[in-house]
């Protein structure tokens, strides 16, 4: 028995050491795979159409862009600025794209499909406070605001420069309650520079 154990003992250990040195790991780190399919928003565009005195759309449109083609980190994003006329009203939409996909994927459609779990917040900041007001015009199935469609009212007055802050709040299904409270999860949070001109 003892000699058997003795032999088995050495044999087992030698086998174990041979294993560690010779066998490949059963997995293969050398192939990092290609399923880095993180969904991103790389482009946010506000499209505004000027309204006439009767509230009908005119041919004048303005738009502003946020672009971060490589996503978070890496090259810093480019953020455009917006020039709006004092005393005018605008009708607006927002478009979200994932341009890392080919063709670019519309995230707007996903937000629309999950409207009960999302809401945009448009807030005037700095010099735009008191001059720029956004009213959300679209509603989700629970009759709460969404913000894919909205109107912008610019009050008359001197030229000014400020910011329009756009936030997309993501809610757990039950927590979008009053259309006023933001969630603790912002999918978007961008400041666009706004110039108010006469």
């Amino acid at each position: 028995m003892n000699t058997f154990i003795k032999k088995a003992h050495w044999l087992l250990m030698l086998t174990a050491f041979a294993l560690i040195a010779v066998t490949g790991c059963e997995d293969n780190p050398a192939d990092p795979g290609d399923d880095n399919e993180q969904e991103l928003i790389t482009s946010v565009t506000l499209n505004l159409t000027e309204l006439d005195a009767a509230g009908n759309p005119t041919a004048t449109t303005v738009s502003v862009n946020f672009k971060d083609p490589d996503g978070t980190g890496g090259v810093a994003p480019t953020i455009g600025s917006l020039t709006l006329k004092a005393g005018k009203n605008y009708k607006g939409t927002i478009a979200l794209l994932d341009e890392t996909k080919n063709p670019a994927e519309s995230i707007t459609a996903e937000v629309k499909a999950e409207a009960e779990a999302h809401q945009f917040f448009y807030t005037a900041k700095d010099g735009a406070v008191g001059r720029l007001a956004v009213t959300i015009t679209d509603k989700d199935a629970n009759n709460r605001p969404v913000g894919l469609e909205y109107t912008v009212a610019i009050s008359a007055g001197a030229n000014a420069t400020g910011k329009l802050n756009v936030v997309l709040s993501h809610y757990d299904p039950a927590s979008k309650k009053d259309g006023v409270t933001r969630s603790d999860e912002s999918d978007i949070d961008i400041d666009f520079t706004v110039n108010i001109a006469n």
Partner: protein, 780 residues
């Protein structure tokens, strides 16, 4: 190519070890240990007590005068075990150098025989000369008080050990301010290789499995290799049964706070036909729902853990072989409110007194969540090579599978279909140690170890760490020289680590190689200046290569709302640790107090960059991994004093000061000063109840006032004090011995937040918790 070199290197080192071992001189074996064993109460000699030397697995039995003698011993450090049915076991460490020594034992009668379960007698005989470094041991009796809790929670008992907590299920041990890659966890002798990048990654250890835990505080690089910068946690499962027969233990726990139920069943046996052949099977379950703070439930903080292990082995005087397999598996929920969007969201969450998402109690585990599995296989052999010494070899295989799920699929209210991270880390390790027979007054060992590791991202929707393959190898020698009251330890080690990472950048696979090597050393001195006193000084060093997340991180860390950026050019981190430890041990009292100064060269940490990272989700503060000169110093220790046979008082204190010496700023996330006071009443036996005790423990934690500016969103929370009560007793029910334990944690239901709780921004720590524990040892 490098693989071939690696194997060649390992072979050369093994050969050198064998030749070196063979050259070791033969020493004379003339020394004898002798003495007598008495009953502690009436001082009568005891017949038939078993005295044996643990390391040599040989011994003798006392005669009718209580006398015993073990002859023909070589000089060495041994553990003497004195055992007799109906009495508490005594373990005592002895160093024999030149002369015969006398050892008397006074055994305390144990009214109930609890099978293989030992009463806490080991601590009484704490070894004054075991380590020049600060060392704490949690014995079976102490571990039993914490059964059902996480490993981190259990270790909090030790002065100088705190936990980095991420909800109730994730508790990471912090030794003297250091954690994660700076702490080495040895599970059944194998260095635990889990996914340690991240504060929310706890060690994958079944809290029911350890029979003994040793915590070595401070750098211990020589024996344990790179990584042991801050300390080593050695977890030993129950020893395999050597005697023929069958037995086991059933352990059941219930926790009121999160309605946690936990249980563990252990069965073990020893063969009568082939003495020395033993086996053990163990399985445990822990299931918990949402934890409760004094005011609300913490949404989605439950867990479901299922672990099991099997072991078998054959041990004789001359050789031994043991095979061990363990599986750890857990599913755990991450507090829903900790999943936030950006800094504005985080600041809003901090301002709120209570989390915005609160609901009733539930056992449900929803996203965000983690699924973790850790498998370990170990094969260990031991051969006594006569006059040469002892050769031990251990082979280990580990597979760690970690899946982390975000709160929901992107832009959707549905739970995610795929994990955000899905990583599989496979590790092979091999260790060979040769412990030579003492030569004159020198005791020591040499060893060689090798490791091979591969990490594969099954799916990754966010790049935290790349795929990699790593090899490392090390060789060490450590010697002790013992003469009279003096012990001198010294050792050295060389380590090499090579790894290659694989990333996909612009549709192409990019490979990158990193390699690091270094030497470490240790010198220690112990002086037993009085029979009950010793002082130890230890000068140790350890290093570690930068970890993958420190090199490659490039993204937003959820929950902390910071953009973390790795640096491919980080160099190794090295520590130089000085530790002075004063120990006292007598029949009535016990003390261990250490002061230390741990100087870190190239300390890797997250440094705030003034330029925020702009993203579509807003601006995130940028943190870059950088290196600086750092220093951690402080003191910790514990004192126990037995006022009378019935009352014992204790106090433990821990103070750590961490500083970045380059910027003259305190380090982030250092544990606050803490003091623990304890009283232990041993109640007289009453009716059927024996070994009954009541403990009243208070913990006082100061507010952390030392923290770096501009690196955190909220000020450290205020200090707090907690009160625990613990009651335990043993009785027989129909001839079956039982051990019962009732404890109340946070008796006053205090609302508090600990500085090291990663959820302190969002939620309070748990409130009152009533815990019941029942242990049923059975068998022969």
């Amino acid at each position: 190519m490098s693989q071939v070199k690696f194997i060649f290197g390992v072979c050369c080192i093994m050969l050198a070890v064998l030749i070196g071992g063979a050259a070791a001189e033969q020493s004379d074996r003339k020394i004898r240990i002798y003495g007598s064993v008495f009953d502690k109460e009436n001082k009568t000699p005891l017949l038939g007590a078993n005295i044996f030397i643990l390391e040599l697995k040989r011994g003798n039995v006392t005669d009718e005068k209580g006398n015993f003698s073990i002859a023909n011993l070589a000089a060495g450090r041994y553990t003497l075990v004195c055992r007799l049915l109906g009495y508490e076991e005594i373990r005592r460490a002895v160093v024999i150098a030149e002369m015969n020594i006398k050892q008397d034992f006074y055994l305390k009668a144990n009214p109930i025989e609890l099978g293989a379960v030992k009463v806490d007698a080991e601590k009484d005989q704490q070894n004054l000369t075991e380590a020049s470094q600060s060392l704490e041991i949690l014995t079976q009796a102490e571990l039993q008080k914490h059964r059902g809790q996480t490993l981190g929670e259990t270790l909090k008992e030790i002065p100088g050990v705190t936990v980095l907590q991420t909800g109730p299920a994730i508790a990471k041990p912090v030794i003297r301010g250091l954690h994660s890659q700076r702490i080495l966890v040895l599970n059944a002798g194998v260095s635990q290789e889990g996914q340690q990048w991240g504060g929310e990654h706890a060690p994958e250890i079944d809290p029911f499995s350890p029979a003994r835990i040793e915590v070595l505080k401070g750098a211990a690089g020589v024996q344990y290799g790179s990584g042991a910068i801050g300390g080593v946690i050695r977890i030993e499962p129950r020893a395999l049964r050597a005697l023929p027969g069958f037995g086991g233990e059933l352990s059941l726990n219930a926790f009121s706070n999160n309605l946690q139920g936990a249980g563990s069943l252990l069965l073990e046996g020893g063969s009568a036909k082939l003495p020395g052949l033993g086996w053990r099977v163990q399985g445990s379950l822990r299931r918990a729902g949402d934890a409760k703070t004094p005011d609300y439930h913490v949404l989605n903080s439950g867990f479901d853990e299922r672990d099991w292990s099997v072991a078998t082995g054959y041990n004789t005087d001359r050789r031994g072989i043991e095979l061990y397999y363990s599986h750890f598996g857990t599913k755990l929920g991450i507090f829903r409110g900790s999943h936030i969007g950006n800094v504005t969201d985080l600041l809003r969450a901090i301002e709120r007194e209570q989390p915005s998402s609160i609901s009733g109690f539930s056992y449900d585990i929803n996203a965000p969540k983690q699924n973790i599995a850790h498998n370990l296989l170990s094969l260990k052999t031991r051969a006594e090579l006569g006059n040469l010494g002892r050769l031990e070899m251990q082979y280990g295989w580990q597979k760690n599978h970690r899946q982390e799920f975000d709160a929901h699929a992107p832009f959707s209210s549905q739970p995610p279909a795929f994990p955000t991270f899905d990583l599989v880390l496979t590790t092979y390790t091999a260790d060979v140690t040769f412990q030579h027979q003492p030569v004159k007054n020198f005791f020591g060992k040499v060893g060689v170890s090798g490791m091979r590791q591969g990490n594969v991202l099954e799916t990754s929707r966010s790049l935290l760490i790349p795929n990699f393959r790593a090899y490392s190898g090390g060789v060490f020698a450590i010697e002790s020289w013992v003469t009279g009251p003096w012990t001198l330890d010294f050792g050295g080690r060389y380590d090499y680590r090579w790894f290659k990472t694989f990333r996909r950048l612009d549709e192409k696979v990019v490979e990158q190689i990193h390699d690091y090597s270094n030497v470490t050393g240790v010198v220690g001195l112990i002086y037993q200046f009085a029979p009950q006193w010793s002082i130890g000084a230890n000068l140790g060093s350890a290093w570690r290569p930068p970890s993958l997340n420190e090199l490659y991180s490039d993204g937003v860390h959820h929950g902390t709302a910071q953009f973390e950026s790795g640096d491919l050019n980080l160099r190794r981190e090295r520590s130089f640790n000085i530790d002075l430890t004063l120990r006292q041990s007598s029949e009535r009292s016990r003390a261990e107090i250490s002061v230390y100064n741990n100087r870190m060269r190239g300390f890797i940490f997250l440094f705030p960059d003034p330029e925020p990272t702009l993203t579509v989700r807003g601006a995130f503060p940028t943190f870059r991994y950088q290196q600086a000169e750092a220093r951690l110093r402080g003191f910790d220790g514990a004192v126990e004093y037995q006022l009378s046979d019935l009352l014992q008082l204790g106090a433990a204190v821990a103070v750590v000061r961490g500083d970045n010496l380059d910027t003259n700023e305190p380090l982030f996330q250092m544990p606050a000063d803490r003091l623990r006071l304890s009283t232990h009443w041993h109640l007289p036996d009453w009716g059927r109840l024996a070994n009954t005790f009541i403990e009243l423990n208070g913990a006082l934690v100061k507010r952390q006032t030392r923290f770096p500016q501009n690196a955190d969103y909220a000020e450290p929370p205020p200090g707090y004090s907690l009160l625990d009560i613990n009651f335990g007793t043993e009785f027989k029910f129909g001839g079956q011995p039982l051990r019962f334990n009732l404890s109340v944690q946070n008796v006053t239901n205090k609302t508090y937040r600990d500085y090291l709780s990663r959820f302190r921004y969002f939620t309070d720590d748990p409130g009152r918790n009533v815990v019941m524990r029942l242990q049923i040892p059975f068998g022969s």
